[in-house]
């Protein structure tokens, strides 16, 4: 009996409908049984990951909102989508914070963006927007350009700076007694709870995250992580652009590994079309994704080594990154914001001498990584500040929704490239490095080892690179060659149809969730099409979001000085964190 049949039987009338389209199973459920279903799936069917929670606003329909949950079971390697429909006037749902830790932030975001209330949530407040912001910006009836500035022209007293709540109001201390003015310790010296603010303008916070901590001595006893300082409204922008027009915005999600975002988004739309790109395209996508992964890990290791005082490492690894940027620029024309993929293919082929350049670049990168390893891995200062710091157990990591290097450092072997091989990843021989302790040092080691594995994948792909076209020959999405556009009327019309407003690329109505292995973990694109040339909804399951959501858990009970390496080791990238 399939899972869907089983659920229909088990939950009877509460299951409104089930369907399996594009290889994705969906259950539409009545609200009152949501918690029961989630508990059943989690406890009896091993759905241990809440990958994503989001809302789709269908303005004209009744009920208006669809709340969409994406679950994943690691043991059986299956995914399930649960949808609950709620009306705008009665947008209430039970909270899942008791089942999954990550639900805390996901629900806050759904409330912030759509105004869907999660009953029983311990701390339902704004997360991406700020106090004083009125309305729910991702609702279809919130105009994209309606700004509510806090300073400068157009700002009102309501959104003024001083309305930001103070740290002491936000932080919840475990033991209310300790929040009293003074605590006497055994020595007779009075210890006070000290509130300290880190960021957003703080060098170790990368400019865009604010961590408020309550300190007892030097120990962090409570903390609150404030994000949203880089909220650039990717999801809102995507709802106003053509399918191709969204691609440049995807570059700027995880700008340290932009090519992986390009690939993930293009594949999600291709999934809606139920097409597969030519073999050569898939190989090139793998090659570019893996080069991007190396740039990501180089940046991450370099930056957090610098924050611990190892400035040399930063210089060496940035030097290395330049070699890879040269490669990327050679192929895509840009160093960073590549916009390299197209729906159904690629912008262009690899450059003719790519193989030689790649070999040379990798030789130099390997040298630098070796140098970095020599300087860092057995360095007393570095080791002592990383080992045993920021430990997370596998169970907690899963509950927090961790994926990618941070999850694998805790010893959980989950890598989308192995679990659900997309593109041609199943043809390559590579390992998934694992840690044992789940501390900062393991996260560092996993990243160092992954870079070598990525280079192995690229080398194998270049050895076996097949010939052939790089774009799908499909009139629905691929632009005809320019020579034909200028000489034949059919190609001209085809070009016109794909480019003009109101036409464009139009995937069949439906929805698709496409996970790829990003630099930080599972990067999922959930694209909903209503059959027009503009996406009805593009949702990004950003790996960083879960990692930063788990940050408070990681730093609790640690010393203040440990906050910096812990924050550095999870590799926060503001673009995908705040979107």
């Amino acid at each position: 009996m399939s899972l869907l049949q089983e659920l229909s039987q088990e939950f009877g009338q509460a299951v409104l409908s089930t369907h399996a389209r594009l290889g994705e199973e969906t259950v539409v459920l009545q609200r009152k049984r949501l918690l029961d279903l989630i508990r059943y799936l989690k406890n009896k069917r091993g759905f241990d990951f809440l990958m994503d929670l989001t809302v789709v606003d269908r303005l004209e329909e009744v009920p208006r909102f669809q709340v969409v949950y994406h679950l994943y079971a690691r043991e059986t390697n299956r995914r399930l989508r649960i949808k609950v429909q709620v009306a705008a006037k009665d947008a209430h749902l039970p909270t899942l914070t008791g089942e999954y830790r990550i639900a805390d932030w996901l629900e806050r975001e759904a409330w912030d963006m759509y105004g869907v209330v999660f009953d029983g949530h311990p701390d339902l407040r704004r997360i991406l927007m700020y106090e004083g912001f009125e309305g729910y910006p991702l609702r279809k009836d919130y105009p994209k350009e309606r700004r509510q500035p806090r300073v400068g022209p157009g700002s009102t007293e309501k959104t003024a700076f001083d309305k930001t709540p103070s740290i002491a109001d936000v932080l919840v201390l475990d033991d209310p007694d300790t929040s009293q003015a003074a605590v006497s310790s055994g020595t007779g010296i009075k210890e006070e709870i000290m509130y300290l603010n880190l960021g957003p303008s703080h060098p170790a916070m990368h400019g865009v995250v604010r961590i408020s901590v309550a300190l007892k001595g030097e120990t962090v006893i409570a903390s609150d992580v404030e994000i949203g300082y880089m909220h650039r409204c990717f999801e809102k922008e995507a709802e106003t652009h053509s399918y191709t027009g969204v691609i440049p915005y995807t570059d700027r999600l995880n700008y340290v590994s932009p090519l992986i975002n390009n690939v993930g988004y293009a594949m999600a739309v291709e999934k809606l079309f139920e097409v597969e790109t030519p073999e050569r395209c898939q190989y090139v996508r793998v090659i570019m994704s893996e080069i991007s992964r190396i740039t990501d890990h180089l940046t991450c290791v370099g930056a957090f080594a610098m924050e611990l005082g190892a400035f040399t490492i930063f210089l060496y690894l940035m030097k290395s990154r330049e070699y890879l940027y040269d490669l990327i620029e050679d192929v895509t024309g840009a160093r960073l914001t590549t916009s390299y993929t197209r729906i159904g293919g690629l912008k262009g082929d690899l450059s003719p001498d790519f193989k030689e350049k790649c070999r040379e670049a990798f030789r130099k990168v390997r040298e630098d990584i070796q140098e970095c390893d020599n300087l860092l891995s057995r360095n007393r200062i570095f080791f002592d500040r990383m080992r045993g710091v920021g430990v997370i157990t596998p169970e907690d990591a899963i509950s927090c929704g961790f994926t990618g290097p941070c999850l694998r450092a805790a010893g959980v072997a989950y890598d989308v490239r192995k679990a659900e091989p997309y593109l041609v990843y199943d043809r390559f021989d590579f390992e998934v490095p694992l840690g044992t302790d789940g501390d900062c040092y393991d996260r560092y080691q996993v990243r160092m080892m992954e870079m070598e594995q990525s280079m192995r994948i690229v080398e194998q792909a270049l050895r076996n690179l097949p010939g052939g076209p790089i774009c799908l020959d499909d009139k629905r999405m691929t632009l005809p060659p320019k020579e034909l556009v200028y000489t034949t009327i059919e190609a001209l019309m085809n070009h016109f149809k794909l480019i003009m407003d109101g036409h464009g690329i139009r995937p069949p109505a439906g929805e698709a969730y496409m996970p790829v292995e990003g630099g930080n973990g599972e990067l999922g694109f959930y694209v909903v099409s209503d059959g027009t040339g503009i996406p009805a909804r593009v949702r990004v399951r950003a790996p960083c979001f879960a990692l930063v959501a788990g940050l408070s858990h990681l730093i609790r009970g640690r010393m203040l000085a440990d906050v910096v390496p812990i924050f550095g080791s999870i590799n926060m990238i503001a673009g995908e964190l705040d979107r």
Partner: protein, 157 residues
């Protein structure tokens, strides 16, 4: 010319403004207010390949009190705008602002409820560097243009 001649070959004459401008333009201490994608290119400019140190702006200061060049590197959202204003106000005079990339300059292709449409609506800007993100060469070019501007300014002291 009379004074210059009487001083001989061991001294030169100049205007005080020009001398101070010369000193100031080659000792810029930047505060990188780095938020977004542009910060990747900021790292590239700061490191050995492009090496901004060759132009006398090598040492980033992580406190606005010690900096005289505010580099606004990346998108500024309405949530972050008050922080940027505060950082600017904390800097001592004389101070200059470099808008790094189109997001800081005009909001770039982010025209929506979250993004400030150009930081010049909240703080004064001296030099704009185009690009999304700008290439490191473009940033160096912007810096040199700013240095020319500083040299030509009437100096407050």
């Amino acid at each position: 010319m009379g004074i210059a001649n009487s001083l001989g070959r061991d001294a030169i004459t100049t205007r005080l403004d020009a001398a101070i401008g010369w000193a100031r333009k080659y000792s810029l201490f930047q505060y990188p207010f780095a938020t977004a994608c542009c910060s990747m290119e900021y790292m590239a400019v700061a490191c050995s390949h492009y090496d901004i140190d060759r132009f006398g702006a090598g040492l980033p200061r992580w406190s606005p009190r010690q900096a005289d060049l505010l580099m606004v590197v990346g998108t500024i959202s309405h949530k972050l705008a008050p922080v940027l204003c505060q950082v600017y106000e904390q800097m001592c005079d004389p101070k200059w602002v470099l808008s790094f990339g189109v997001c800081a300059t005009s909001g770039g292709f982010y025209d929506n409820y979250g993004t400030v449409q150009g930081i010049d609506s909240i703080i004064p800007v001296d030099i704009y560097v185009a690009g999304c993100p700008p290439r490191p060469e473009a940033v160096l070019d912007g810096l040199i243009k700013l240095q020319k501007k500083i040299q030509g300014e009437r100096q407050e002291y």
